[in-house]
């Protein structure tokens, strides 16, 4: 009898964790979706976006904070694209989180994505109260971009820096 109760307890816990992971994925709702030239860019506030930082499945997620006006970000973007090309089959997902101004999505961001033929998933994080959400991404983050998170389940690393392809791949392999 005792065993049964304990078993039930564990199962609930695991069920809940598993369920939470799935629920988090589906619960992310965009406040708006920009669409032009066949490219869609969903917009999230931090409350909805945050779930993307805590998905508990066996995928490795590479989340890069960038913007079209940020030169070092644009310079390293091809390396993230290459990771996306080479590692998607190995259960890696690259998410490019643009911090462009919403007013510049149609004039700058989408034309940029089209011209550079960006194939990774691109979303826009639009939440002006950054002082509240920056520490929730990482306590040490000053708010400067580029910044990157590489995580799988509950293990991961945060980087406030630029990458070369070699470095990015090296950091990615640490999380595998």
């Amino acid at each position: 009898m005792m065993c049964r109760i304990i078993c039930m307890g564990f199962m609930l816990l695991i069920f809940f964790t598993g369920c939470k992971g799935e629920r988090q994925v589906t619960a992310i709702t965009a406040t708006k979706v920009f669409e032009s030239k066949g490219i869609e860019v969903p917009v999230y506030d931090f409350e909805n976006f945050e779930a993307l930082l805590h998905i508990d499945d066996d995928k490795v997620r590479v989340i890069n904070f960038w913007a079209t006006w940020c030169k070092p970000c644009v310079r390293e973007l091809p390396y993230f694209e290459l990771i996306n090309d080479r590692y998607t089959a190995k259960n890696v997902e690259v998410i490019l989180v643009s911090l462009d101004l919403p007013s510049q999505v149609e004039t700058k961001l989408i034309p940029f994505l089209e011209k550079q033929r960006i194939r990774s998933r691109v979303i826009l994080l639009d939440d002006p109260n950054a002082n509240q959400w920056i520490p929730k991404v990482n306590e040490e983050w000053s708010g400067a971009i580029p910044a990157t998170i590489i995580y799988k389940g509950s293990t991961g690393n945060f980087y406030e820096r630029s990458f070369t392809y070699h470095d990015l791949e090296k950091e990615l392999k640490k999380v595998f």
């Binding site: 002006p128 002082n131 920056i134 520490p135 990482n138 040490e140 000053s142 708010g143």
Partner: protein
């Protein structure tokens, strides 16, 4: 019983990985000034060709040091608010001193010539200084633009009282529920302690 063992192991794995996240994601970082440090003075060239130092401001009670630049949309979004801060607080003893920390080789838009053009277009009421050789911003620890340091003049020197962003909404001043810089300067003017001493904001990385 076997099931129980497996479940127990699973639970342990979950517990262990939950522990790992704290360990890995906590990294020590940050250089430059902290609250309470004495900020360095400087001698930097203004857009009018004259050199500016904090020591020139004999009557000032302190300074709103603003690292900003031309190219960054976040800096541009705050330009009007920076002008308003200067207009309001210069008379009260806390002038804005703007410094462009960027290397114009990285961002040609941030060249000294373009600083003059931008300042004229916007009607900057404050000095807009060029951090030639990029020697000052690393001492302050500025990471991005805009990045504000509020200094209070004391017998010991200019003490850092606030580091961070201007308010809580870069897009729309009217929606900014918190006006961090104004609150901090008001507190200093009234002889109170600054309540919120440190804030974070998205900004453009300073390019060396």
């Amino acid at each position: 019983m076997k099931t129980l063992k497996i479940l127990a192991v699973l639970a342990l794995v979950i517990a262990v990985s939950a522990f790992a996240v704290d360990k890995v994601l906590t990294k020590k970082g940050g250089d430059g000034y902290d609250i309470g440090d004495i900020a360095t003075d400087f001698r930097l060239k203004n857009i009018d060709g004259k050199y500016v130092s904090l020591s020139h401001y004999r009557d000032a009670k302190g300074f709103i040091i603003t690292f900003t630049c031309n190219h960054c949309p976040y800096s541009v979004a705050y330009e009007d608010r920076i002008i308003a801060l200067d207009k309001k607080y210069k008379a009260l003893g806390y002038p804005v001193i703007a410094i462009n920390p960027n290397n114009p080789r990285a961002y040609p838009e941030d060249s000294f010539e373009n600083m003059k053009i931008r300042a004229k277009e916007k009607g900057f009421t404050f000095p807009y200084l060029y951090d030639d050789g990029q020697k000052i911003y690393p001492q302050y620890g500025a990471k991005k633009t805009p990045h504000i340091y509020i200094l209070q003049k004391t017998d010991k020197g200019n003490v850092v009282r606030y580091i961070g962003t201007i308010d809580s909404n870069y897009k729309d001043e009217k929606l900014a529920s918190k006006k961090y810089v104004e609150d901090a300067v008001d507190a200093l003017l009234e002889g109170r302690e600054v309540k919120i001493k440190h804030t974070k904001a998205i900004g453009c990385s300073i390019k060396a």
